[in-house]
Symmetry: D2
Subunit: 337 residues, 4 copies
């Protein structure tokens, strides 16, 4: 940690600050310039709240040198984490496509879609039972019933299921769910993250619409600090001024997260842009950038989709893009599924 | 609602769309141009999911004409809402300053600050018992104990208290809290909003860091649709590329929210910028733009603040800015407190 | 300047870096931590290119301690700059409202508007002769003819005129213009800034849509470094994700620029939001935040405005807002005009 | 164009608007709803200024149905444009890597880099002679001398050269330059675009840091409307809240620009992120998303680079990434160079 003091800082106050830092167990080296004094803090600074130093009135600025995440940090875990999801493994040599409708609408629908995406090469089934909707008047999901239908589809197809949780109060319903998804709007719902840290279930953590990659890693850290190492990071687009796409896919997130962390990274090209014809090129970009998987929305009748329709492919369109994707995954030296 | 069809849309599909719209209870007028066909939908379009129309493959674009919020909409409630908070009234001729430390740290601290801010003219006491922190290793608040200290300060000073909720699971602890705050990171925690809609307590709803004003009003709508009309909107800065301030205060939000909605609007200049010396000018800007109140952080010893230190004023600094603020509030024809 | 080295930096390379720094005339103090080595650079670092240090492969990060602007920096010029514009003074106790149409459309139009805004209290006349338009097919301004009409209006009303330059090639046409405006899109047109640095004319420099306040001050520095100290800074809204307003007025820019720089600051509420009814509240916010003036668009027949219509007030609307604005300016202890 | 009228619009005013529209040569179909009236404009609306309609006081909103660009629009030019650059062709089956240092620093440097990047597979040489720098005190490029060195390198290696123009005043110096680059900061320097429209030289047009894709296409339209069809679009990152990378590469821009326009699209991964180790994955993403080329910075001694050092690869690093890139280009069915 580097502390830059204000010009003309009172010596008495500098001494008080140095005394307090010593109490906190860190040693400060002092560099005096013509205008500025710089303190270089050496020792374990992880317990020092950067804001409480910034608050001292003689302090101009504070810069952290070390990353504030530990469990999620590749420095301390050089090897890629591989997460077991049923019989599948995410994060190693295998590449997985998670697919399914935005919302579960009926048993027939989810079964039909599950069979189609499995046939096309998807290895996990996604579907929303609890739906976060901007409007209280929009369809909010089938809830418990939706999870039942997903479990039915799992029984029939053998695919692990991924579905979103919106409240701690619903946790019991997720007992047989394979991967619990935390949506972008709940990425900093810290009480939810803490609760999921007590579980051992794989958690698919989506990046918030205005959250930095460091904040995403800090939210992963919440789950991991609680004892659950099974976190999957998901880039799904951020909010910018561009209006052509619903959000802007930050493709750099993939190589950055893979370098900074050992956790697997998946990309959601459907939500990132909200445009069907962008799913294929963005999926390919994710593959060559080193992502470990994709989440792609597929609906058996997009025109009737009760939520997020425009970004859903038909099963036929999904078939069509899975062929070149599988080939590209092979080209990069990995195996699909 | 205006639906713009793609060029060369199949007539059969157009007929199907028109049939479905009729079923939904809206009538479509058709305008044929040389390149484009436009459908103007007339009738109650509030139940139509805009996305499900956008998903139809012959549709190019859909534009909503009417605002999607009703309870929060000034069109249907022309008069300003006035919210009762104990004996106080927020939203009418009175202007309120809500003040206190970011975090409750001890009984002495909150009492000391409460007395000082009351003496300076604040009418409500704020203080965080549950603290949303980016890092799991940072101080998370005194929780239940913090609320106890706030209630003690309320008993002694008579000031209503405002404090943040982070989970439905803690709702019982908020029974004697006067105003429940929903923080920026939980603005779209829809399950929490629904639960608060069942209460009658005033809810202070903060705008999310990357949320539009329409989304803020839709989150208010969640609470109001549940039966709780007592929502206070709060502008607290949005995320932009500017790095000098922590966030960018969107001052236009005040007159826009006041025009579009009848709900009271308060401004939080402390969190918006994270810089102490900006609190006074931004508070004044809020007053002249028609805000109904302010939330200002004050700490009895900012250098020791356990969270969000740099944005906290000392009680002396708070005294100093309350004088010109009170005068300015009077100048605008309102009364402080 | 603080240089943070990478872990395990080769000692030989560290020595080379230190040698090079010594050559550049700065002294480096070294702090060795368990994981990191920090160099604190002492001396005149203004000639060191921060990027060339960041490029060194053993360097993790570099932080600048001192602001990179000098001429524009209040540290070295504690008193407010007061800029002479004809007989007027901008930047001291006086507050100025610059007003007029977005585009000059005809001699009658500009004369009519000039008389009306002068009568209402405006002290300078603005009007676009060269118009930066997103589309090559949109009206591009009357150009030389527009400047002639402005000069005619100046002769008749006595008001100094403010108009935008878009190219060095047009500089001759601006000989009798009182204030040359550099638009947001040209804020980093450095060749234009250099050329204007050779002039002595007051330059109204608008902040770019995605430029930080430091970048704005650096663009002012370009003009000042060339020998022209007469720069007026203008906040006119930045680009964010919010779609209700065309841009987001960053009101914090006013107190920040006033603190960091001695240059006068004006606010353009018309372009910042593109909404007529926001001009009054945002103008008031600018006044109480310490701005030295406003630029407000007024058009004698907004419905016919050839450009930027929606943000223009009618002369009657302008009259109506000038009364409370003048009163508020007086309230803050300054004088209008 | 769709015009939505305000509730309770005066009939007389509606008639006036309809009359004016008729004069402008468009026909309006009227749809009356319970709350709103919608006008669907049919005919050639390209000459109607959208803002002048929005300015009419009875108008609530106006939506454009057709794209405002014509020359750049794929609708009117279904085939990919192929641009001749010396003997090379950009935009068809061939994929080009443009490479070289950020700034030309000396004849030896540019020659050395040119030979190395040519040997590695680059087909065009880039290098900045005029450098847009935020600070007036930073190195501004070798200017005319820099162009001379580039031309010398062209003579020796046979590679066409690409270099940035910053002012119309320098146009004569670019006579033998093969591709003139317009930098991000000048994307809306409309006077410069108009001047380049009179040339026949290929123009590499970089997207501005806060410009939408539609605005980029409108800037291309400026050049094309002037008579120069040889425009190459370049995505180079946009400004967002994320601080890990200098800018955020908007990879979706590639498939969107390719779909909406027939112009070739290149990607600049070096400037987009400012991080050397991101160049390879982002280059691959550009290839699989359908880009026609890349601009990659290479410097013979990055540690000494006078500008933009950290994003430059060494020639050895460039060699190392050109192998997998060439292979991937082949995999996608195109040929390098």
């Amino acid at each position: 940690m580097v502390v830059i003091l204000k010009e003309h800082a009172e010596e008495k106050k500098v001494d008080q600050l140095l005394g307090w830092l010593e109490l906190m167990g860190v040693r400060a080296s002092i560099i005096k310039g013509s205008h500025t004094t710089i303190l270089g803090l050496v020792g374990d600074t992880s317990k020092i709240d950067i804001d409480s130093i910034r608050a001292v009135d003689i302090v101009e600025n504070v810069t952290r040198v070390q990353e504030p995440y530990k469990n999620a940090n590749r420095k301390f875990h050089p090897d890629d984490s591989v997460i077991d999801i049923g019989a599948l493994k995410l994060g190693g040599e295998r590449f997985h496509v998670i697919s399914g409708p935005c919302s579960v609408e009926s048993e027939e629908q989810i079964l039909e879609v599950a069979k189609r995406v499995k046939a096309a090469g998807a290895t996990m089934l996604r579907g929303g039972a609890f739906k976060p909707r901007t409007s209280p008047y929009a369809f909010q999901g089938l809830k418990a019933e939706g999870i039942e239908y997903l479990l039915e589809a799992k029984k029939i197809t053998g695919m692990p299921i991924v579905t979103e949780i919106m409240s701690i109060a619903h946790l019991d319903l997720f007992e047989d769910v394979d991967v619990i998804q935390v949506g972008a709007r709940n990425m900093q719902n810290f009480e939810l993250l803490k609760e999921l840290g007590k579980s051992k279930k794989p958690i698919l953590l989506k990046r918030g619409l205005a959250n930095t990659l460091e904040e995403l890693l800090m939210s992963a850290e919440y789950i991991m600090a609680g004892g659950n190492p099974n976190v999957i990071l998901c880039e799904r687009g951020i909010r910018t001024f561009e209006t052509f796409t619903r959000n802007t896919l930050d493709i750099s997130a993939v190589p950055i997260l893979k370098k900074k962390s050992h956790l697997p990274v998946v990309v959601d090209p459907s939500h990132a842009t909200g445009i069907t014809w962008l799913v294929e090129p963005l999926s390919k970009a994710a593959v060559v950038c080193g992502a470990d998987g994709l989440i792609i929305e597929v609906h058996n009748n997009p025109a009737k989709a009760l939520s997020d329709g425009p970004q859903s492919l038909t099963p036929d369109q999904f078939d069509a893009i899975m062929q070149p994707l599988t080939q590209l995954v092979g080209y990069t030296g990995r195996k699909m599924g």
